[in-house]
């Protein structure tokens, strides 16, 4: 992987400046069943296509943001900073 990722603060930067926690997941509501819990924790969709994921500009501004990335081509379609409250 050597694609450029557009940081919302810093602009396009080499992807090795960033860290990712993977696809954006939905945390289940209170007291999930074991299946719901393990689905959330371990069963990722692992999309071959466009996926929303969390990225952090670790070696830059350190901001967290979400990016829509095509996992087949590493093309980043959009990035978004979670809205202020």
């Amino acid at each position: 992987m050597s694609f450029l990722l557009p940081c919302p603060n810093c602009g396009p930067r080499p992807v090795d400046e960033f860290t990712s926690t993977g696809e954006v997941t939905v945390r289940p509501a209170a007291s999930p069943t074991l299946r719901e819990l393990t689905d959330y924790l371990y069963f990722k969709r692992n999309t071959a296509g466009i996926q929303r994921e969390w990225w952090c500009h670790r070696h830059g501004c350190q901001a967290w943001f979400t990016a829509e990335r095509d996992t087949r081509t590493n093309e980043v379609l959009s990035v978004e900073v979670p809205a202020e409250r």
Partner: protein
């Protein structure tokens, strides 16, 4: 022998350079390469081959083949033909046993047939099994290229430079220059990369960079080897003008010294004014090689015969040598004596860089070449690399092997012959990718530049199919050989030092790594330092703790959600121990949380966890968007822990703060001046004795440290290091995250159930912990003490019913307790006071007793005093 000055030669005959070849003095001119200077001194054999130790001489003269690799000033595998000669170089040949002209191991070439076919070490030498180490040692010693001097220090410094280019052109031949001119004319910012020092003329409106492109990666990333500098180019548009590689012909004796590719003639004569030999034969499958005829004649080499394979059909070519040097060539039995044979099997476009960038490669039947197709966006190919290499002869003509005698080399790097390839086919290696790995064709220094296409042709022929069906193997970077040092870059071993670091050194501390921090292991007497904490007063630098300020109206809510403990009900000025969990309920980090004011919290983390914790906090808050600020003050603040029965007296001497047991109780946090410096004092006790952790601006580190040791001198104050701290905390059964816990541990099984307030509505990890309760415990973290005082190894095995049933995580001898103590993960059934454990120690087994409460001060009387 040097010719009189030739038109266009690249020599400065005014300046002679002296160097050493195997210790003997040799001379060349400025402008020579190492190889041309040696050739001028009469050297023809440059190396011995990989497997058969056959003499090898110049073949390509352009840095492609392995034949002229030498060791220069101790650095192995230097390609002599493309490395400029420099004054005083010490040059040595490689892979030679004995001398270049008489190699002791050349005997493998004579008798080697049945012993050294491809894959022989998998078969011939596999039995008897116990002798393999011996075989392996022998094989390793005879095979291979140069040797790395392991005792040599770092002499070369490598650096990385990041560059940008709107258009990057790889290759400075006519097509590359034309493309660069065109883009520069459009007003684009253009850089052109060229490896050959002879082609570095200034660009017309574009930059010319001397270096070698190693690959084309995603995002237009092109690393360029510029000697000790790696240029990481980011290009909007990449133009590959990498040219083509003249292919060798396959015939017996095609590796003899004196067999040359046309480019070698061009460079020997044209650049360095060297006479290639006395009598030459030229055999070519394409037009391009015919220029060497003129050059040979210009150099005074008699051209005995020129065979153009497009016109003349030759069924069999056999080159014969004397002592490894070419002596004659037989064309269908007609013998021509010669000492130079120029061969060309046509030019194969250099598509590898394009293939790196996911271009496809197709076979052009008409011209007999592989061509890049389906170029991805932002990539362009021009010139010979795009297939502009003219029409070659029918490809079949480029193979004239199959003689009974003499070796016909498909791959000169790895010494693989046509027989080896045929044998691999006979053994069932029908895929080119598998055959490549078995025969190692294309896996040597040339990385397939000279052997890939010939091997595909041979495959196609033997399998009675065509090249398109056989297909190519995957092209991977680097496209040209590169020094590992260049890829590794400058050696970085970042060290973090506290502001008190130099005091520790002055006090004679042995330093150790904890993460990137340098910390005192001890000051020479770990047991004595631990004892001093129990007896009077110990002082330890804990500046390495991660320190975060968490502030804002939602700060308490934020921490409530992150930690399993409760914080909302905490009074300002109080402290709680907290353990961070992942949502899978796994322990991530631990530390203390002090509430400084309603909306202000001061959070400490482990020494190595600060960065991860900040990132973790920020991530969750990116999701929750609570009104809270997280500021990492790890480096801004130093911290010193004073602990021991005399700690209170010391604190009295350091400032005005009322430190009486009623006014400043256990788990209180207070702001005060300490030694005249504004500080935050946390009354906590990781090491088990009455203790105060003083946090203050790090510039005052040495001042505070010195004042403590000075005013505490008569109280017995002594610094203590990490090792005594580990003994002390183990006596208290305080866990070390990462030592006693791993990525699977949770707070419940780690015997800290009081941490998890499962009645809270939610916190990170809550549901997983609930699940742990439901499924029941699988193991539990307990303390133990050894019955006979032996200290088991950390990581040692707990034996349950004769099987591994648990593991020791910490173990130390405690002078204070007079016992060997430790912590271990054991099956839940054994997690009971007094339960007997069996622990493996050095092959035998030892008994231990489980302890669930701290070994020292189980009721916390010392801590709370």
């Amino acid at each position: 022998m040097r010719l009189p000055p030739q038109p266009g030669e690249r020599l400065n005959r005014e300046r002679e350079l002296e160097f050493a070849f195997h210790g003997a003095k040799a001379r060349g001119f400025e402008g020579d390469s190492i190889a041309s200077a040696l050739f001028g001194e009469g050297q023809r054999t440059f190396s011995r081959s990989f497997k058969y130790h056959r003499p090898r001489g110049l073949l390509c003269c352009q840095g492609t083949c392995p034949n002229c690799m030498v060791t220069v000033d101790g650095t192995p595998n230097i390609r002599a033909c493309v490395t400029p000669l420099a004054e005083g170089m010490r040059v040595e040949a490689q892979n030679v046993r004995g001398s270049l002209d008489f190699d002791l191991l050349a005997v493998t070439d004579k008798i080697g047939g049945p012993f050294t076919p491809v894959g022989f070490y998998y078969r011939t030498m596999i039995r008897p099994r116990r002798l393999w180490p011996l075989y392996e040692k022998f094989l390793r010693s005879i095979a291979g290229l140069g040797r790395v001097d392991k005792h040599r220090g770092r002499e070369q410094r490598y650096d990385v430079e990041h560059r940008r280019a709107e258009v990057l052109v790889i290759g400075g031949g006519s097509a590359g220059r034309e493309a660069a001119r065109r883009y520069a004319g459009e007003g684009r910012q253009v850089s052109l990369v060229e490896a050959d020092p002879a082609r570095l003329d200034a660009g017309e409106g574009f930059e010319v960079v001397h270096g070698t492109a190693l690959g084309v990666f995603e995002g237009g990333l092109v690393p360029v080897d510029a000697g000790s500098l790696l240029l990481r180019f980011r290009a909007g548009h990449v133009v590959v003008a990498a040219g083509a590689v003249e292919q060798p012909l396959l015939f017996p004796g095609n590796d003899l010294v004196g067999v040359l590719l046309p480019e070698a003639v061009r460079r020997l004569v044209g650049r360095w004014s060297l006479k290639p030999g006395d009598r030459a034969v030229v055999i070519t499958a394409d037009e391009d090689a015919l220029d060497s005829v003129n050059l040979l004649e210009q150099a005074g080499t008699e051209v005995a015969e020129v065979i153009d394979l497009r016109e003349t059909r030759v069924r069999q070519i056999v080159a014969k040598g004397r002592n490894g040097r070419l002596a004659s060539v037989e064309l269908d039995g007609r013998k021509l004596s010669c000492d130079v044979l120029v061969m060309s099997g046509g030019r194969q476009p250099s598509y590898a860089l394009l293939a790196h960038a996911s271009a496809k490669v197709e076979y052009d039947h008409r011209r007999g070449i592989f061509l890049p197709v389906d170029l991805p966006d932002g990539l362009e190919v021009v010139g010979a690399a795009a297939g502009d290499v003219g029409d070659a002869a029918v490809p079949a003509a480029t193979f004239n092997g199959a003689a009974k005698k003499g070796k016909c080399f498909v791959c000169i790097c790895e010494d693989v012959t046509d027989k080896d390839v045929k044998r691999a086919i006979a053994e069932g290696f029908d895929s080119i990718e598998l055959a490549k790995r078995y025969t190692t064709v294309t896996m040597g220094p040339c990385q397939g530049k000279l052997c890939h296409v010939p091997s595909i042709r041979l495959y196609a022929r033997e399998n009675e199919t065509d090249e398109a069906t056989i297909g190519t193997t995957t092209a991977r970077p680097p496209w040209q050989p590169v020094e590992l040092g260049l890829l590794a870059g400058r050696p970085h071993e970042p060290a973090q030092r506290t502001s008190i670091h130099h005091r520790h050194k002055e006090l004679g501390a042995t330093m150790m790594w904890t993460g990137t921090w340098r910390r005192p292991h001890s000051y020479g007497d770990p047991a004595g330092e631990a004892k001093n904490v129990h007896d009077t007063l110990g002082v330890i630098d804990v500046s390495t703790l991660g320190k975060l300020l968490v502030t804002g109206p939602d700060a308490a809510e934020f921490l409530e959600r992150l930690y399993p403990n409760r914080f909302g009900d905490m009074k300002p000025g109080r402290i709680r121990y907290g353990v961070l969990n992942s949502d899978a309920g796994r322990i991530m980090d631990d530390g203390t949380i002090a509430r400084l004011a309603e909306d202000d919290f001061y959070v400490t983390t482990t020494s190595t966890g600060a960065g991860a914790v900040v990132e973790w906090f920020e991530w969750w808050n990116a999701i929750w968007r609570l009104e809270v600020e997280i500021v990492d003050v790890t480096g801004a603040l130093a911290a010193v822990n004073v602990a021991g029965p005399k700690a209170r007296e010391l604190m009295r001497r350091l400032g005005d703060l009322d430190v009486s047991s009623d006014a400043f109780t256990y788990l209180d946090a207070k702001h005060a001046q300490v030694a005249g410096v504004p500080a935050l004092i946390l009354r906590i006790g990781f090491v088990g004795e009455l203790g105060y952790e003083i946090h203050f601006p790090s510039p005052y580190g040495e001042h505070v440290w010195d004042t403590i040791l000075e005013r505490g001198a008569d109280l017995g104050a002594r610094p203590f290091g990490l090792e005594p701290q580990r003994i002390l905390r183990l006596e208290k059964m305080h866990i070390l995250v990462g030592q006693d816990t791993d990525s699977e541990s949770n707070v419940l099984e780690a015997s800290m159930p009081w941490i998890a307030k499962l009645d809270k509505e939610d916190f990170v990890g809550k549901w997983s912990l609930e699940h742990v309760l439901q499924r029941g415990f699988r193991e539990q973290l307990v303390g133990f003490e050894m019955e006979n005082g032996v200290v088991p190894l950390e990581g040692g095995q707990i034996v349950v019913d004769g099987r591994p049933g648990g593991r020791v995580t910490s173990a130390r001898w405690s002078d204070h307790l007079g016992r060997a103590i430790g912590m271990a993960w054991v099956p839940p059934g054994l997690a009971e006071e007094e339960a007997e454990l069996t622990i493996k120690v050095d092959g035998s087994v030892e008994k231990a007793r489980v302890r669930l409460r701290p070994f020292f001060d189980p009721d916390g009387e010392h801590l709370r005093s």
